[in-house]
Symmetry: C2
Subunit: 359 residues, 2 copies
Amino acid sequence: MRAYNFCAGPAALPTAVLEKAQQEMLDWQGKGLSIMEMSHRSNDYVAVAEKAEADLRKLMNIPENYKVLFLQGGASLQFSAIPLNLLGKNNKADYIHTGIWSEKALKEAKRYGDINIVEAGTMIDGKHAITEQSTWNLSNDAAYVHYADNETIGGLQFASVPDVAAPLVCDYSSSILSAPVDVNKFGLIYAGAQKNIGPAGLTIVIIREDLLDQAKPEIPSILKYADQAKNGSMVNTPATYAWYLSGLVFEWLLEQGGVDAIYKMNQAKAKLLYGYIDSSDFYNNPIAVPNRSMMNVPFTLADEALEKTFLKEAEQNHLLNLAGHRSVGGMRASIYNAVPLEGVQALVNFMDEFAKRHG
Amino acid sequence: MRAYNFCAGPAALPTAVLEKAQQEMLDWQGKGLSIMEMSHRSNDYVAVAEKAEADLRKLMNIPENYKVLFLQGGASLQFSAIPLNLLGKNNKADYIHTGIWSEKALKEAKRYGDINIVEAGTMIDGKHAITEQSTWNLSNDAAYVHYADNETIGGLQFASVPDVAAPLVCDYSSSILSAPVDVNKFGLIYAGAQKNIGPAGLTIVIIREDLLDQAKPEIPSILKYADQAKNGSMVNTPATYAWYLSGLVFEWLLEQGGVDAIYKMNQAKAKLLYGYIDSSDFYNNPIAVPNRSMMNVPFTLADEALEKTFLKEAEQNHLLNLAGHRSVGGMRASIYNAVPLEGVQALVNFMDEFAKRHG
């Protein structure tokens, strides 16, 4: 029996995708071998890889002057690859700091260039929030402005895309494909696959072509965006099975009606869970309403001592992985695309029943 | 029906491993979710990861003063990571050049330090071979000596481990776990998973502890061996599913009787295929006997014009991926651990039948 899985990442995948992968595991489309046993340069595999890219382009409406790269190393390797590729001659960038992941990105960037840190976290009525863009001290000569759309650990998300002069670079790891986004507003979008795309081990980079070819001399060769773009992300062997699985997720998303349809579903899921939390004296979410994450919902119990009991009983009810990140504690329900509305309803039902017994 | 798959990589995996993965795909050990949907920091996943490492240590008899890392980016990212981690203050290393892969490694290393290239390729009676170590001009002050045990494209393999003063660093991508190796002779062994270990997207690094902590300042943080060793290869999210599948391959190898047993099988497979080629006037292998690869067997047909027919008919006989690398042409049969003796026998039968019709 499949449980409801609220893991922050590696995260739930659509059951239909896993079923298809299971069915094709030993013999892909009657070819006598698994897709993971195929050369990445074979006609069959290249067709799978290209279809995945085409479907992602369709889902996100990616303009033709952007390249889509399927890389390895996670968003964390991009924390290095981005400054190494984009800092350019001026060697300056702005980094917006809103939580743990944007901090990791800026710490790594500081090793390579002159980084202007914009502290954009604030408190409004005791709740975490992101400051107004008008208060940010942005540089005049930054090669790019970096931010993380959604802080997976904090559960803090930008209400809108910042409007800046320099190319905008965004870590979309935990919110990509959850809502429509205008790619034209960005110089570069990147995302580790293991939330809304596929299994861990794949990283998507969407980059505007004019930014491709300005890497620093010390960059490891396979991190060069220009080379990967020229070689269809196959400068070396890519993570072929993860790429294939991501393609299945893209197909599933198109079958659901694309990003607009999944966005409506995600809004309904978030409304249900936040609505319940707000209606309860037993649970609390620490984020100001405009900056609440649609994907990661942290919450605390009125009595911290009940946390272990909550997690244990949730698991008995087939509601898995609700512990908050080890760095912050509390609870967190990650309600990515693959978590169905029924899963969120089951969680709310359990939370309500638990509160009534312990409240 | 499963065909015999002679792909050089991503390569054949044991059918029993794929069957187990297939069975566990949607619900790992009754936990209600796939192993690829689990946090890498969950107790269940960490146990899987640690067992994989323990099994690899058992298979290779890895001493306690070596760390085993499960990384991303392929051997190609290690081409950068190795000089960035190991060149040290002297900034010098020796690279033994025997073919396309060792050349890629040395080209990347030259971007970071003072590299002494030892040209070790030669011809003996019209066949490719590796020169005697006594002829090599090694440096006195190299931080390490790098070589590739087995040139996957050329089909050229070292007959024994070089005996050098500096720490020995070896690309074992296409020969790891195919034959016993004394890890004590090495400072560092690395291998992309996609030949004898598991799916593409995972890279194994086995490193002696005293070499860990000497990285250059410009190294991307997640490439630092010392940090990855301290954090159990989880500085960031690893390629969890590839790591799990590799663990299944290690279990399978132990069930086969370990590396000694698979080595005997590999010797039998190589003897069968090379023996047939040598007995034939129709086929030719371009490598001198002592340096023939046990894993990758390149061969040509007496009449080049028959290559397409050969490949087409082989495929009709469920013998897949026998084309040589696009850079060299001809044929190549990769007979990794997962290719059974019956597969090699079926190939030899087909080759013989083909030669009789066309010879």
